[in-house]
């Protein structure tokens, strides 16, 4: 146990050193990708808590990311900027005058998203399985329509712009590490075991005295809180938001991340997020002009998404339960793997 703690602390230290190095030497493009990875990781790890660990098929994270983004953005924008960008309908008071610091806005984003999740969990968890999926999907669509229509709050489809790029590597990765620690601790606590019990057999879990409804609500609210925080980070990374950012395609992407990584595995969610955010940029290579056997071939625009879909299908066919399955990273397993590899190398 002590060994694992030391190793974890060392790993976090190495990560921080890497971030310090990256912050000083990497190009803005690489830093942007690193930030995107961290933000997607936050959402994926907590989305996995409700979908993978608790086994409730929710399709609503886009709604909570949207709530978080809008809350955080509306709170940090300066009154002048708001007055300038609301060209169709002026923004309502008191939003027109409020301006708070970035950390406060992030907390507000998380709290509001969590609160809304808590409130809707009463009706939402009356249904189960694919019906739950459609109810949460419906909630996401309703949020989408509201952000488009409530012009005096959200500026409609024009969206909000001119946000200060507060999201630095320290913010995004700091919160990412914090999220992972919170999630892992929750999963390994008695609440986490209750969540897994609900996933495996809800009736049996209730017979054992677990309140299935509260367990689901806890996971749902927890996940929405961090989705909201991640939304705030995302808004201050790309510095502008609008409803089109939060369509159900965002949910699909998150679902892909957690299933490819391995549903129910926090490690898997992380791997999925890294592959998705980094791979999406790395795959741009296939659209660039290239030389094959001495012929100059022009790039084919759109090829990236074709290859992405093909890789997605093949991954699922060959790694049916995702990359990690339900396994988690542990130092013991890593050490075991390392020593077997070493032995093999020695033998040859």
């Amino acid at each position: 146990m002590t060994r694992d703690r030391i190793l974890t602390a060392a790993a976090v230290g190495i990560l921080l050193a890497f971030l310090w190095f990256a912050d000083r030497t990497f190009s803005a493009y690489s830093i942007r990708i690193l930030n995107t990875i961290a933000i997607f990781s936050i959402v994926a790890v907590t989305y996995n808590l409700i979908n993978g660990v608790t086994g409730q098929f929710s399709l609503g994270p886009n709604a909570f990311i949207a709530i978080g983004s809008y809350t955080s953005a509306l709170l940090t924008l300066s009154p002048q900027e708001k007055a300038a960008s609301f060209i169709i309908d002026p923004i309502v008071w008191p939003l027109s005058v409020i301006s708070v610091s970035f950390p406060v806005s992030l907390i507000a984003a998380g709290v509001l998203a969590g609160l809304i999740a808590f409130l809707i969990s009463v009706p939402v968890f009356r249904v189960r399985g694919d019906y739950l999926a459609i109810v949460t999907l419906g909630f996401g669509e309703v949020m989408q329509v509201i952000t488009n229509n409530a012009v005096s709050i959200t500026n409609g489809p024009l969206g909000l712009k001119g946000l200060y790029p507060h999201t630095t590597l320290w913010w995004s990765w700091g919160l990412c590490i914090f999220t992972i620690i919170c999630t892992v601790r929750l999963v390994n606590s008695s609440y986490g075991r209750a969540m897994k019990a609900v996933r495996e057999d809800e009736t049996a879990a209730e017979a054992m005295g677990i309140d299935a409804f509260w367990t689901k609500t806890l996971a749902f609210t927890f996940s929405a809180f961090f989705a909201g925080v991640a939304g705030g980070l995302l808004a201050h990374l790309i510095t502008t938001i609008s409803p089109s950012l939060f369509t159900f395609f965002l949910t699909f992407n998150l679902l892909i991340i957690i299933v490819v990584g391995g549903l129910g595995s926090t490690t898997g969610a992380l791997i999925g997020a890294v592959l998705f955010a980094w791979g999406g940029e790395a795959l741009r290579v296939v659209e660039e002009p290239f030389t094959l056997f001495g012929y100059d071939l022009p790039g084919i625009p759109g090829m990236r998404m074709v290859i992405f879909s093909a890789i997605l299908i093949l991954t699922m066919i060959f790694a049916r339960s995702g990359i990690m399955g339900r396994r988690e990273f542990s130092w013991q397993a890593a050490i075991d793997l390392g020593s077997t590899l070493l032995q093999r190398i020695r033998r040859t």
Binding site: L312, I313, R320
Partner: protein, 295 residues
């Protein structure tokens, strides 16, 4: 708000609803048998529309031939997708198959973007479906009659197949207990292929009529009808054929009536439709005609 206006809106609502129903029936059949939300179903609609378009406009085929080829090829594509992408995942977690379905959907859309391009093409409407009947202020397009007739006919056909034939019996049995049916010596793969043929043909018919009504063929045209049909299928109770038809009809009617009666809410059309859906699911957690979930 006079009676003629309301009846007119009912006609439009039923037409839209029938189109949703056609697509939703295929959705729900595949779901009923292999418990897979086939997100690629909406994109089959797009493929069928493109084949029909190329048949008529590029190869100058007579329209019944072009539509026939379109339905055949779409059915073949349905089997191909099942054999290639879903069959290897038959015994894996359901959500893995779902992600594969999303992958297939993305693949079809983006292949369309790369090969054909994103610019919309105009789908030709054969003269048989042109024109309308006029009574006083009411307009009854022939196409609406066709859509209604075809939907009722195909719904009856599907119900007959599901309830009166051996393969239909096998389909119903599969939806109850996959393993036992396999042990009883039923060729499960053939039954599933048959389901995909039926479901994909329905998507093709839906796609062709969709494009005759809204003649813009483009790679993403299947996304929204697919999503709406999915909602309709859930509303009716996933796996129930008549439920899907009913769900589609209700959704179409709701969408049209909301805008017609309360035009100020036209921006909230989808939100109201989804709110109704959520409200129905909260009172009947397995849809209007869905079977009770095992507790």
């Amino acid at each position: 708000m006079d009676t003629a206006f309301v009846i007119q809106q009912l006609i439009f609502g039923i037409t839209l609803g029938c189109l949703y129903s056609l697509i939703a029936i295929g959705y729900t059949m595949v779901y009923g048998v292999i418990r897979l939300i086939n997100f690629a179903h909406g994109d089959l609609l797009m493929v069928a529309a493109y084949i029909g378009f190329f048949g008529i406009v590029i190869y100058h085929l007579p329209w019944p031939v072009a539509f026939g080829i379109s339905i055949l090829l779409t059915a073949a594509l349905g089997i191909l997708i099942d054999r290639g992408a879903y069959k290897p995942l038959r015994d894996s977690p359901r959500i893995s198959a779902l992600i594969t379905a999303i992958g297939v959907s993305f693949l079809l859309e983006n292949l369309g973007i790369v090969i054909i391009g994103g610019r919309p093409k105009s789908f030709p409407r054969p003269s048989l479906f042109e024109g309308d009947l006029q009574f006083d202020q009411l307009i009854l397009p022939y196409l609406s009659l066709w859509v209604l007739g075809i939907t009722v006919m195909l719904l009856t056909l599907v119900l007959l197949i599901v309830h009166r034939t051996r393969v239909g019996m096998a389909m119903r049995a599969l939806s109850r207990d996959f393993e036992t049916v396999r042990l009883m010596g039923v060729d499960v793969d053939r039954v599933i292929s048959f389901t995909f043929v039926l479901g994909s043909s329905l998507a093709a018919v839906g796609g062709i009529f969709w494009c005759m009504k809204y003649p813009a063929v483009e790679p993403f045209m299947g996304v929204i009808p697919g999503l709406k049909a999915f909602v309709a299928a859930v509303l009716g109770g996933i796996g129930s054929v008549s439920g899907a038809a009913l769900g589609g009809l209700l959704l179409g009617l709701a969408e049209v009536l909301i805008v017609a009666i309360q035009p100020e809410w036209s921006g909230y059309r989808d939100a109201v439709a989804f709110t109704i859906l959520i409200a129905i699911l909260l009172t009947r957690p397995t849809g209007i005609m869905g079977e009770e979930l095992p507790k």
